[in-house]
Amino acid sequence: MRRVKVLTLVLLFAFLAACAVQTHPFGKPDQTFMDDYFIQNGQAETGSNNIVSSVVFDYRGFDTLGEASILFAAAMGVFLVLRRVEK
């Protein structure tokens, strides 16, 4: 059993490591045109100094709406699951 576990893990790691080797060298992304657009035009288009903020709330604001609603859904879910038991 233990041998199976170790073997599975080694295989998984080999698979993932192959992916890591194929990825571009650290610190030198292949293509950066989309992010360069944000850095060049973010300040002028949204007026925000923090480009991450302008991506989160303006360029990809819809993701943030989805993310906030996931938090809402989780709060509702915890509320629902841990509500008092009606006896």
């Binding site: 192959a18 992916c19 194929q22 990825t23 571009h24 992304p29 292949d30 293509q31 950066t32 045109f33 989309m34 992010d35 657009y37 944000f38 303006d58 360029y59 990809r60 604001g61 819809f62 993701d63 709406l65 989805g66 993310e67 609603s69 996931i70 809402f72 859904a73 989780a74 509702m76 879910g77 915890v78 509320f79 629902l80 699951v81 841990l82 509500r83 038991v85 009606e86």
Partner: protein, 516 residues
């Protein structure tokens, strides 16, 4: 009018989301108002989606760049920088079926869930599931797809555990959420790989520049297995029976559509994102194998069940196999133009038609099971019997659903299954024979349910049982009406809805072209 159509993709997602956020506030004013609010908001969403679909079916793909200065400005610098929603005929079809089922389920729940506490959260989460399904099918952005996938699993996982007075629902929900979360993380890893290479997140733009390197293939494997996990195909089906069996009945009916939505994501990824890959037919073969396994193992496991909802859950797995088989055959011959036009196209159409039909008859069957549970309070088939005298209308609906799932004419299950049988027979007769065999087994299994629940002498403990309230009957009746309509006039659906959807799925260049 044109305003709604123009902003349709965003409104369809945002209206139910907004309604969900407001539900806890509205329910301060009373239970009736809250239910009215949920039904009205879903109806408004349905209207928006219908108008949007009519526009999409008549005038082609509609794109919507969120936050841009005009909605159609998707790529100002030659590449998309904002999240782009992209609705083609395929998305419109899935959107229509998701919202319709959600609306009917909401009407049904106004009666069914009446006696429970915590309903404001129930309706908020139901609205949120609707919105997440629409987001998943309308989005044209991979990361956005991940966000909506997670929203879907969190909100439906919470609803699976609605009956927290017992341990099993929490167990089922834990299993469901852990599996969905792992699947979603696989999607996120795939998004990382694609983003790291191409610095893009939009599906259309990525499909246009994809080089099919080693990492892209890894990403494809991750995406396909994640969505197969989420739609409950067989080697990865362990969550389905628990989650479907333990959730409240209305939630189960919605979960069926949730699985279809992830099936949509699977098709979208393999047809659109990787459609230009030379070896994509391998994925088609994988779908065929998954489909055959799901069909056969699902129905075999279903034969052994005594719990009516678990039995139907295993049948849901088995029916998912038909869709995978149909679309998989189409994908396996996608490079071969002759084969595609002679039977591949019909196979895809059959698979997609089965998606709609499955959502309808499986929804109807689960709702009738809910009607039985509502009146008798048990899910055990051995304890049921003789209900046909007390609940004649429900019995009729059950018969309609049963004959439809078994693929008998003149119901809608027949019209899609015949398309699958015919086209798959030209591809490989063995597969077609297995599919027909599974249908027969399905019929046998449901006849057993029918016999033990509805026929036989009237039992003493159920002498007070009577027909369910009107709201539940309305929801079931509308589904039954459409099942018969699509069974009698299949051309209507195929011509107006299915054929454009199949063409949209195959026409990858069009999807890419409107983005860049």
């Amino acid at each position: 009018m044109s305003f709604i159509v123009e902003h349709g993709p965003a409104l369809a997602i945002a209206v139910p989301l907004m309604a969900a956020f407001a539900t806890p506030l509205i329910s301060r004013a009373g239970g009736r108002l809250r239910e009215l609010w949920a039904v009205l908001c879903l109806a408004a969403t349905l209207v928006i989606v219908v108008m949007l679909s009519m526009d999409v079916l008549s005038s082609g793909v509609r794109v919507y760049a969120l936050g841009a200065s005009i909605p159609s400005l998707t790529s100002p610098g030659g590449f998309p920088i904002r999240i782009v929603l992209e609705v083609d005929a395929m998305s419109a079809m899935m959107g229509l079926i998701s919202v319709s089922i959600a609306l009917l389920v909401c009407i049904y729940s106004t009666q069914y869930m009446k006696k429970y506490q915590g309903l404001d959260k129930f309706y908020a989460l139901l609205l949120m599931i609707t919105s997440a399904m629409l987001g998943l099918v309308f989005t044209g952005d991979l990361f956005n797809m991940f966000v909506f996938l997670e929203l879907l699993s969190v909100s439906s996982g919470a609803l699976v555990a609605f009956y927290m007075g017992r341990g099993e629902p929490a167990e089922a929900a834990f299993k469901y959420v852990i599996i969905s979360a792992t699947g979603a993380l696989m999607v996120l890893l795939a998004v990382c790989f694609l983003y790291g290479q191409y610095n893009l997140l939009s599906i259309g733009a990525l499909a246009g520049v994809m080089q099919f390197t080693f990492l892209d293939k890894i990403a494809l494997v991750l995406l396909v297995s994640a969505f197969a996990l989420k739609c409950g195909a067989v080697p990865l089906h362990m969550w389905v029976s628990d989650a479907y069996g333990e959730a409240p009945v209305p939630v189960t009916a919605v979960l069926v559509v949730v699985s279809q939505a992830s099936l949509y994501a699977l098709f979208r990824v393999s047809f659109t994102l990787y459609g230009a890959m030379a070896t994509i037919s391998v994925i088609g073969w994988a779908m065929i194998i998954l489909g055959i396994l799901s069909m056969f193992i699902g129905v075999t496991l279903a034969m052994m069940q005594r719990d009516i909802k678990r039995l139907m859950a295993y049948h849901a797995i088995s029916q998912t196999g038909y869709m995978l088989l149909g679309v998989g055959v189409g994908l396996a011959v996608i490079g071969d133009v002759g084969a595609l036009s002679s039977y591949g196209m019909t196979a895809i159409e059959g698979g997609l038609f089965h998606v709609i039909n499955h959502a309808m008859y499986k929804g109807l069957l689960f709702l009738t099971a809910g009607a039985i549970i509502y009146r008798t309070g048990t899910r055990d088939l051995n304890k049921l019997g003789g209900l046909a005298h007390a609940m004649p209308v429900t019995t009729c609906f059950f018969i309609i659903g049963m004959l439809s799932i078994a693929g008998l004419p003149p119901f809608n299950g027949f019209s899609s299954k015949i398309m699958i049988y015919e086209s798959v027979f030209m591809f490989s007769p063995v597969l077609s024979i297995i599919a027909i065999l599974v249908s027969i087994l399905t019929l046998a299994s449901f006849v057993k349910v029918f016999q033990s629940a509805f026929l036989g002498p009237k039992r003493r403990e159920y002498k007070d049982v009577k027909e369910v309230p009107v709201a539940m009957l309305i929801a079931m009746g509308i589904l039954a009406f459409f099942i018969i309509l699509f069974g009698l006039l299949p051309d209507l659906a195929v011509q107006w809805l299915i054929e454009p959807a199949a063409k949209a799925l195959l026409n990858q260049l069009n999807y890419v072209g409107v983005i860049v």
